[in-house]
């Protein structure tokens, strides 16, 4: 490995972080406009992060309490750095390697496991409820997601995301969503659960367990979680763009495609009310799972 790759990786993280923060602000603004409000300023997420880092006091509940936000952020950054952000680019190709598809699937799970340790140490009952809900929901939507990803991997006979993107080049008729629609549908439904927006926001559940896992986190620790909340969705969007929508060869294409993919959970979220936790988990184990099995059988 060359040292300049570290610089390139930091550059990728910086760009994706800013894109994620702006995306967060813009999407909340769209949500507000749907509710006929003016909404927050688009740069409000930046101010919130600065304010949280500017808090003067911090309390702790132990070592794991400190490490949990770091684990969470590692999950986001790991997901981002092990796949090609821009296809065919030396700078933004990152650390994509032969088996990165499997690693990326595990990075989705990594963050919430770290949060589970930290939230358990904070001792707050809402944190524990939120974490148990989060883990069960992640487990249930992993099934259709993994079936879809395996179908895609079998279709292209590779576990390398760069090769999957390369196979989809040359017009939109080569995209996986056209060539392998069942796998794409199973993955896109699982994507709704992965983004954690309504109707699948059982983890943060604002009306029930006020904020779920991060209840006890404050000041800089919450700041780290907020950074992750910007990077992680952006990384997931890039992953789905790579697997289903032919990747991107430049930043403008990436921004256009990921923004449009993000509108899928946003529109579903503004239209549908929230599922209860048992409903959401059961639902993932019915229709999406069957579509995933069909995708595997048909391939």
């Amino acid at each position: 490995m060359e040292f300049k790759n570290i610089g390139y990786a930091l550059l990728t993280i910086f760009i994706v972080l800013n894109y994620g923060l702006i995306l967060q602000g813009v999407v909340r603004k769209i949500g507000a406009r749907v509710g006929r409000r003016y909404g927050i300023r688009w740069y409000q997420p930046y101010i919130d992060i600065i304010k949280n880092y500017a808090k003067r006091s911090t309390i702790t509940h132990g070592v794991m309490f400190y490490i949990a936000p770091v684990f969470r952020l590692t999950g986001g950054i790991g997901l981002l750095l092990f796949m090609p952000v821009i296809f065919g680019s030396d700078i933004f190709g990152n650390f994509s390697f032969a088996g990165d598809l499997v690693l990326v699937l595990y990075f989705q799970f990594f963050g919430i496991l770290g949060m589970a340790l930290g939230a358990a140490e904070s001792g707050h009952p809402y944190s524990a409820i939120g974490i148990s809900r989060g883990l069960s929901q992640v487990t249930s939507f992993e099934l259709p997601l993994t079936l879809g990803v395996l179908a895609v991997a079998m279709q292209y006979q590779t576990l390398n995301i760069t090769e999957i993107v390369a196979a989809q080049q040359g017009g939109f008729m080569n995209w996986t969503i056209i060539t392998n629609p069942f796998a794409a549908i199973a993955m896109l439904i699982a994507f709704l659960g992965a983004m954690g927006r309504s109707p699948f926001d059982v983890v943060l559940a604002p009306q029930e367990i006020p904020i779920g896992p991060p209840t006890e986190f404050q000041s800089g620790l919450l700041g780290v979680l907020q950074l992750n909340r910007a990077i992680f969705p952006a990384a997931k969007l890039i992953l789905f763009m790579n697997l289903l929508f032919g990747g991107a060869t430049n930043w403008a294409e990436l921004i256009l495609k990921t923004f449009l993919i993000y509108m899928w959970p946003v529109f579903v979220g503004t239209v549908f009310p929230r599922f209860r936790v048992d409903q959401s988990i059961r639902w993932f184990l019915t229709v999406p799972l069957i579509i995933g099995i069909i995708a595997i059988i048909l391939i």
């Binding site: 507000a32 509710g35 006929r36 409000r37 003016y38 909404g39 927050i40 300023r41 409000q44 101010i47 919130d48 600065i50 304010k51 500017a54 808090k55 003067r56 006091s57 911090t58 309390i59 604002p206 006020p210 904020i211 991060p214 209840t215 006890e216 986190f217 404050q218 000041s219 919450l222």
Partner: protein, 212 residues
């Protein structure tokens, strides 16, 4: 004092008897610290961020809470001024005490206020928090909130309209930007005086003196 908070001896899983003092073991009894503002240039920037990102913890007691809800609706929409609601005291920076406080709720207000992180600001909503309002001679409500915790902004009225609440938030912003929002430090400096006032009112004091 409640039965749960008394000292007792229990048998540990290894079979040895151990002493448990819930107030010492489950809570911290460390006094609050004074955090002096740092470098003036950085502090000015931080104050700008604090003023533009007010995370509100609403303590709804009676009618006051009803005047706070409309701020989230399209008609008033406080979000455009950087005001957002937060369900937990750990993450909130503005504590809105809306209306009269009975002796029982004062206890919860004190605990909630102490769990918030420095710097924290308090908005007292309605006449009841200034002089007791229509409950001034009631047997179980307090009259002046600022004897129990430092208050940054009072919003007078019975009840004040949501517009005046918005004006109060704007006033709080100017106070923070001028660097005068040091209520948390005031509380730490005059801690003994505030604690004595609180204990005068709350007879069944069954919590540690400082529960962060």
């Amino acid at each position: 004092m409640k039965e749960d908070f008394k000292k007792r001896t229990v048998i540990s899983p290894e079979g040895k008897p151990i002493e448990i003092d819930p107030l010492k073991d489950y809570f911290s009894d460390a006094k609050p610290k004074v955090y002096k503002p740092g470098n003036p240039v950085i502090e000015k920037f931080a104050n700008w961020a604090r003023a533009n990102s007010l995370w509100v913890l609403g303590f709804g007691t009676g009618c006051g809470a009803i005047e706070m809800r409309p701020l989230m609706t399209p008609r008033f929409d406080a979000y455009r001024y950087g005001i957002q609601w937060r369900p937990t005291p750990r993450q909130a920076s503005v504590f809105v005490v809306s209306g009269y406080l009975s002796v029982k709720t004062l206890k919860r207000v004190v605990r909630t206020y102490e769990q918030m992180q420095n710097p924290k600001f308090v908005i007292a909503l309605g006449s009841c928090t200034i002089n007791g309002g229509m409950y001034w001679d009631s047997y179980n409500t307090i009259n002046r909130l600022d004897q129990y915790m430092p208050v940054d902004v009072y919003i007078a009225g019975c009840m004040p309209r949501p517009e005046s609440l918005l004006a109060g938030f704007e006033k709080l912003k100017t106070i923070i930007k001028e660097g005068r929002g040091e209520g948390a430090n005031t509380y730490a400096e005059k801690f003994d005086w505030y604690k004595a006032n609180q204990k005068k009112i709350i007879k069944d004091w069954d919590m540690p003196d400082y529960n962060w």
